[in-house]
């Protein structure tokens, strides 16, 4: 047994001891904290706007009236007030198209995001009869027996946020 061998053994043991004793520190980059807070803003904003008050900037009011010509400017303006100045957003509605049996997306806004985004989402159930006639979410009578006004339609509203 040489002196070098003893020293090397002590060194290896002390390094191993140091590693096992110390707490593993995974430091979050400050970016991640910002994105957690940003997603929370998005989730809270959707929760606030998902209500039955009948106000023109609520999700319920807008989704019942949406068609190819309707612009929900009050909803978008309220979202801009709710979200901090350093963010931009896209608002999309996911729904099941029963004619094609596929999940489809209706883009309320179609802005170009940056590479890093966070997404918040909320679900709504709206009676089929409450939609305007040319609504993309409205169920056609084919395939459903009897009056379909009371058929519940499930919509997922996704709010994608990014920093500008």
């Amino acid at each position: 047994m040489t002196l070098e061998g003893v020293i090397a053994a002590v060194l290896i043991l002390s390094v191993a001891y140091f590693l096992f004793q110390s707490t593993m520190i995974i430091s979050p980059v400050s970016d991640e904290v910002v994105y957690v807070q940003m997603r929370q803003y998005g989730q809270d904003a959707l929760t606030i706007l998902n209500n039955e008050s009948g106000a023109e900037d609520t999700l319920q009011y807008v989704l019942k009236r949406i068609n190819s010509t309707y612009v929900p400017d009050k909803l978008l303006s309220s979202l801009e007030k709710l979200l901090p100045d350093y963010t931009d957003f896209n608002l999309q509605v996911y729904y099941v198209n029963l004619t094609t049996n596929k999940i489809e997306v209706y883009n309320i806004t179609n802005r170009i995001p940056t590479s890093t985004t966070v997404t918040a989402s909320t679900y709504l159930v709206i009676r089929n009869g409450a939609f305007v006639d040319d609504s993309p979410f409205k169920l056609n009578s084919s395939g459903i027996e009897g009056p379909n006004n009371n058929v519940p339609i499930l919509l997922e509203v996704r709010l994608t946020l990014w920093r500008v």
Binding site: L3, Q40, A45, T47, S53, E56, D57, T58, S78
Partner: protein, 300 residues
């Protein structure tokens, strides 16, 4: 033979090079071990603080709170927090998450004033055996920021501002939640009805800046459904709204127009055959049919 003797004479001896090298290495090693944790010191404290700030904000916004005296308990802690031998966990949630109950907001403020900072710190879980965390909890307008905080007020007093001032000399974790007030009229200075089957003038005197000044026309008035409704609004003599028929039904936000002016602002609302109300408040902004502000939790 000579070579063999000289070779034997160095066996088991440590050269000066090795001792110097080993000393430098060990000194560097000890220095690095002591130095590395200080590199992460600030990040490490943030790691501990952000979950605390998040947890408190979630408890306040998504939970109605809890009280117990050992035999009886409930969520209406706002009625029992001042009684002796009652353990309280404050929560502000009203009928649904993110919608705050005004009575619970008042109770939290009074709990802080009567029981003191230490008691509230314990109730919020901000005291561990080896550390007391500082905190500051407030309700602020959506436009508020750290450098220029604007608190939600009712009259001249902040609706909620408890805890110590936020220090600028140490790490502070801040977490914000968007909330709505359950009862609009409890946080509004004016919540007057604009409700007439005839033609009526309503006058409002407002001092900017206001958090929100909104005219909400819900419908035509029930008594004269045949007559077309209309509304004209003047701000300091300037006509800003002139609508009739179905365009009258809706929400009209005058906040920006009023906040662009200074001094006392006169808002004249002339309406015909409508049913609605006017909301003027410094507690927040009128969004989604409710007054909306943000709850800011800072922990250090």
């Amino acid at each position: 033979m000579m070579n063999y003797k000289s070779h034997r004479s160095v066996e088991g001896k440590l050269s000066l090079d090795i001792i110097v090298g080993l000393t430098i290495f060990l000194l560097s090693f000890v220095f690095i071990i002591q130095y590395i944790p200080t590199i992460f010191a600030s990040e490490r404290s943030e790691i501990a603080l952000y979950p605390l700030a998040y947890r408190i904000s979630a408890l306040l916004v998504e939970d109605p709170g809890y009280w117990s005296n050992g035999s009886v308990n409930g969520t209406d802690w706002e009625n029992y927090y001042s009684l002796p031998d009652v353990e309280v966990r404050p929560g502000l949630m009203g009928p649904e998450a993110n919608v705050l109950d005004s009575d619970k907001i008042d109770a939290l403020k009074n709990f802080y004033l009567s029981a003191g900072e230490d008691e509230l710190r314990r109730a919020l879980g901000l005291e561990t055996p080896d550390r007391k965390f500082g905190f500051n909890i407030s309700l602020q307008l959506l436009s508020s920021n750290s450098s220029n905080p604007a608190y939600s007020t009712n009259g001249s007093q902040p609706l909620l501002l408890i805890g110590n001032p936020i220090p600028d000399w140490k790490d502070v974790a801040k977490y914000e939640r968007i909330i709505a007030f359950e009862n609009t009229s409890s946080v509004s200075n004016i919540s007057s009805r604009v409700d007439t089957p005839n033609t009526v003038n309503y006058n409002f005197i407002v001092t900017p800046p206001v958090g929100s000044f909104v005219i909400v026309i819900l419908d035509r008035n029930d008594n004269q459904s045949a007559t077309d409704p209309w509304m004209r609004v003047d701000v300091d003599g300037n006509r800003v709204i002139d609508v009739s028929g179905n365009d009258t039904i809706g929400t009209f936000d005058l906040t920006n127009i009023i906040n662009q002016r200074s001094g006392t602002v006169n808002v004249d609302v002339q309406v015909h055959n409508v049913r609605g109300y006017v909301i003027s408040t410094n507690a927040g902004e009128y969004i989604g049919g409710r007054i909306v502000a943000k709850l800011v939790v800072a922990v250090w």
